[in-house]
């Protein structure tokens, strides 16, 4: 093993350790948990069946385009009632809530949001049967050069 590759390996190891120790802390941010509890209560949320489509690397946190969609029929018997978005590192984690009904035809909403920093975005859908679905996406926010000073 040459010095260079050992340095690389050590660097990677340290980075990975930092990443792993960081993750759980972020997921349990009190404000984030509270915002989610306000929306979804304490019902167990199923992972999957919901898709959050947004760029993994965004050019400016001021305007981040995203689409959230739920794999569900939209009929009187079975439909998506609400979809909410949360960002753990924003000053206020709750980004927005979208209300749908059987007349929506599809459970898909697009918007543009603000992200204060690189972070995980969580989308939660409330189904007509009272169940909840959840998904998350990691986003890296880069900053513009030569901002107005």
């Amino acid at each position: 093993m040459t010095n260079a590759t050992r340095r690389d390996a050590l660097g990677l190891g340290a980075g990975l350790a930092a990443f792993l120790s960081f993750r759980p802390a972020r997921a349990t941010t009190a404000a984030m948990s509270e915002a989610i509890r306000d929306f979804a209560g304490t019902v167990k949320r199923q992972e999957g069946g919901i898709t959050l489509d947004l760029p993994p690397l965004v050019e400016n946190g001021n305007v981040v385009p995203l689409t959230v969609s739920v794999d569900s029929p939209m009929t009187a018997e079975s439909f998506v009632k609400r979809i909410a978005l949360f960002a753990e590192k924003n000053p206020q984690p709750h980004i927005g809530t979208y209300h749908l009904n059987p007349r929506s035809g599809r459970a898909s909403v697009s918007s543009r949001i603000r992200l204060a920093d690189s972070q995980a975005i969580t989308a939660i859908a409330e189904m007509s049967d009272g169940s909840f679905r959840q998904t998350s996406a990691e986003v890296i926010v880069t900053l513009a050069a030569c901002v107005e000073g």
Binding site: N62, T97, N101, R112
Partner: protein, 106 residues
């Protein structure tokens, strides 16, 4: 009156799922940001959006400061009958604006 940009197809087949896109000119001042004098600028955002189709609500949104300036929302609905879509944005400082668009369904 804030400028808006609303895209509803002029016509559709009955039962077709159509996409509606809306944009409205609004700063969405977060209430977290200092102004030029260093003091926090007061929050001034749109808090609610609703779309009705011949009087019945087909989509609504609750917005918070994390919705980008000049809010953009795109959603879908089933074209059921010819008629009118009514879009209403309400927000801080008494902000309220309503726009309409028509669709012909065959």
């Amino acid at each position: 009156m804030a400028r808006t940009l609303i895209n509803v197809p002029a016509s559709a087949k009955r039962g077709e799922v159509i996409e509606i896109k809306t944009l409205i000119q609004h700063p969405m001042e977060t209430g977290f940001r200092p102004g030029a004098n260093g003091r926090i600028l007061a929050r001034d955002i749109i808090t609610k959006f609703a779309c009705t189709y011949n009087g019945e609500e087909v989509f609504a949104a609750e917005l918070f400061p994390a919705t980008a300036a000049n809010p953009f929302l795109a959603f879908t609905t089933v074209a059921s009958e010819s008629g009118t879509f009514r879009f209403t944005w309400t927000g801080d400082n008494g902000f309220k604006q309503t726009e309409t668009a028509t669709i012909s369904v065959t």
